[in-house]
């Protein structure tokens, strides 16, 4: 147990799950997008939907999507800031079934037209879980540099990716594999101890059978 999870984090109130956790979901999604977000459809579920207004959940999510961290004093102003920046924000209800009570489903468009859909859960104490990316299960905390590779479900892709990481001296902290159906879309979620260099990501994006690469860098 890290004692700075007990004393800390420094955050904008009022709620570690509904404000700080929401900001973190937005922030991690912005990092995963890798470029400025111009349009965000924010669909809320459960307690995020029911009590989110009084907790500033909407403001916190939008702030995060603009790259603000949970301790950013501009969070209460984020909806106005988004408007000034010309970012289009739409709120709605999520139609997810049986999700975690504090869940946000984010449908995002980046400045180059890149699309990304993230389902994020706020677990309490500002810890979060990225539960889905583009509709496929993922499950990672955003506390490590994380590589998410969507590929066609064929033999050989896992070893390709791990070989690249070994070559770049990146140590794997945790690795998970998911797929929608046999031979269909598959996802690798790899949490790393070091940052993956940009050329490694570029190489992966071009590799055969790889549909999409999403990378969470923790560098500012």
């Amino acid at each position: 147990m890290n004692i700075f999870d007990i004393i800390g984090p420094v955050m904008v109130g009022p709620s570690s799950s509904h404000t700080a956790g929401a900001a973190k979901i937005g922030y991690i999604s912005r990092k995963l997008m890798g470029e400025e977000i111009v349009k965000a459809e924010i669909l809320l579920y459960g307690s995020f939907l029911a009590t989110g207004k009084g907790h500033g959940t909407r403001m916190a999510l939008v702030a995060g999507l603009m790259g603000m961290k949970p301790d950013d004093c501009r969070i209460p102003e984020s909806l106005n800031i988004a408007k000034r920046r010309g970012m289009e924000v739409i709120f709605g209800e999520s139609d997810l079934k049986e999700a975690h009570p504090n869940t946000a489903q984010l449908k995002l468009t980046g400045v180059t037209g890149r699309k990304l859909e993230v389902v994020g859960e706020s677990l309490g104490g500002s810890r979060i879980n990225i539960a889905k990316i583009d509709g496929i299960e993922t499950n990672f905390s955003g506390d490590y540099p994380t590589l998410v590779v969507h590929n066609i479900d064929q033999p050989g892709h896992v070893s390709e990716v791990t070989a690249m990481l070994a070559h770049k001296s990146v140590n794997i902290a945790a690795m998970q594999l998911y797929r929608s159906n046999r031979g269909g879309d598959a996802v690798m979620v790899i949490e790393c101890d070091q940052e993956v260099p940009p050329e490694g990501i570029k190489w992966l994006e071009k590799a055969e059978g790889v549909v999409k690469v999403t990378y969470l860098s923790l560098e500012d």
Binding site: V12, G13, P14, C73
Partner: protein
């Protein structure tokens, strides 16, 4: 490698290695995160200073987004300054700072979760008031902050620090016991005294439910920060007087876990019981919608 899971572990490590309570917590942190003790100490100082900044940035004119809270900390300040303060300068100031921090949190200002955002006023209220009223050096305050963190870590491990799983005893109760332990140290208490200050404070908060109106961290949370601060001071004073808890500190924590588990879910942050379903709360709910 220093590992502790209970309050008794910490007291034993102090005794066997001739270390102070806070040093055990700091060394364990440095080892776990693989950083130097200087870095660990600097990080805790940063947290203490962030609490100070949050306290000084209180804005008496702010209202929370719901409109339910704001301005009460200023009322406390004015009342204290009229000389009608019932309970002395230190406790009066602690009550004022606790309410201010709770309001700052509700008004979306920057605070330090300690251990949670809802309970963020308790520890800074006691500590910042102590530093002012007793002219304590900042290093000493940071040492005491490690004690609060260590106690919080033990509670998190063996019970809970989340209202949703343990009720408010887990939030305000934990914060109060953490503050009591730190305060006992500031007053010169040894490891045993620190442990019993913690035990008193937590015992006094057992059974406290989490029943916030409209599910917002405002009513009753803000004023409970004041109660948590006052309880911490009274508990530290009992321990300093040499009074000892008949139930051991770790058994108090175990009791908190069992009570939290036995608590119905309508009293654990769901807004479906207790104060949250009173006619007054219903009226507030209607005006908010």
């Amino acid at each position: 490698m220093i590992v502790y899971n209970t309050v008794e572990d910490i007291v034993r490590i102090c005794r066997e290695n001739n270390m102070l309570f806070w040093q055990v917590i700091m060394r364990a942190d440095a080892q776990e995160r693989m950083v130097s003790e200087d870095i660990s100490f600097a990080a805790m100082r940063e947290m203490y200073r962030a609490m100070k900044r949050a306290d000084s940035e209180y804005d008496k004119n702010l209202k929370s987004p719901s409109g339910l809270s704001g301005g009460d900390g200023e009322k406390m300040r004015i009342f204290n300054s009229t000389g009608n303060n019932l309970c002395g300068a230190f406790m009066g100031l602690a009550m004022e700072k606790a309410i201010k921090m709770g309001e700052s949190n509700a008004c979306m200002k920057r605070i330090v979760a300690a251990p949670t955002a809802g309970a963020c006023g308790v520890i800074p209220a006691v500590f910042l008031s102590y530093e002012t009223c007793f002219n304590a050096p900042e290093d000493k305050m940071v040492e005491a902050m490690f004690i609060t963190a260590g106690i919080g870590a033990v509670i998190a491990k063996n019970a809970s620090i989340a209202g949703a799983s343990g009720g408010c005893q887990a939030e305000i109760g934990s914060a109060s016991s953490m503050a009591a332990a730190g305060l006992a140290y500031l007053q010169g208490g040894d490891a045993e005294c620190i442990a019993h200050a913690m035990a008193f404070a937590l015992k006094n908060m057992l059974g406290l439910t989490c029943d916030p109106v409209c599910g917002l961290v405002e009513v009753p949370c803000i004023k409970r920060n004041s109660a948590g601060a006052v309880n911490a001071i009274s508990s530290a004073q009992m321990a300093m007087a040499g009074i000892r808890s008949a139930i051991t500190p770790d058994e108090v924590i175990d009791s908190m876990r069992r009570i939290g588990n036995a608590m119905p879910s309508c009293l654990k942050e769901t807004g479906e019981g207790g104060l949250a379903i009173t006619p007054s709360a219903q009226r507030i709910k209607e005006t908010l919608q």
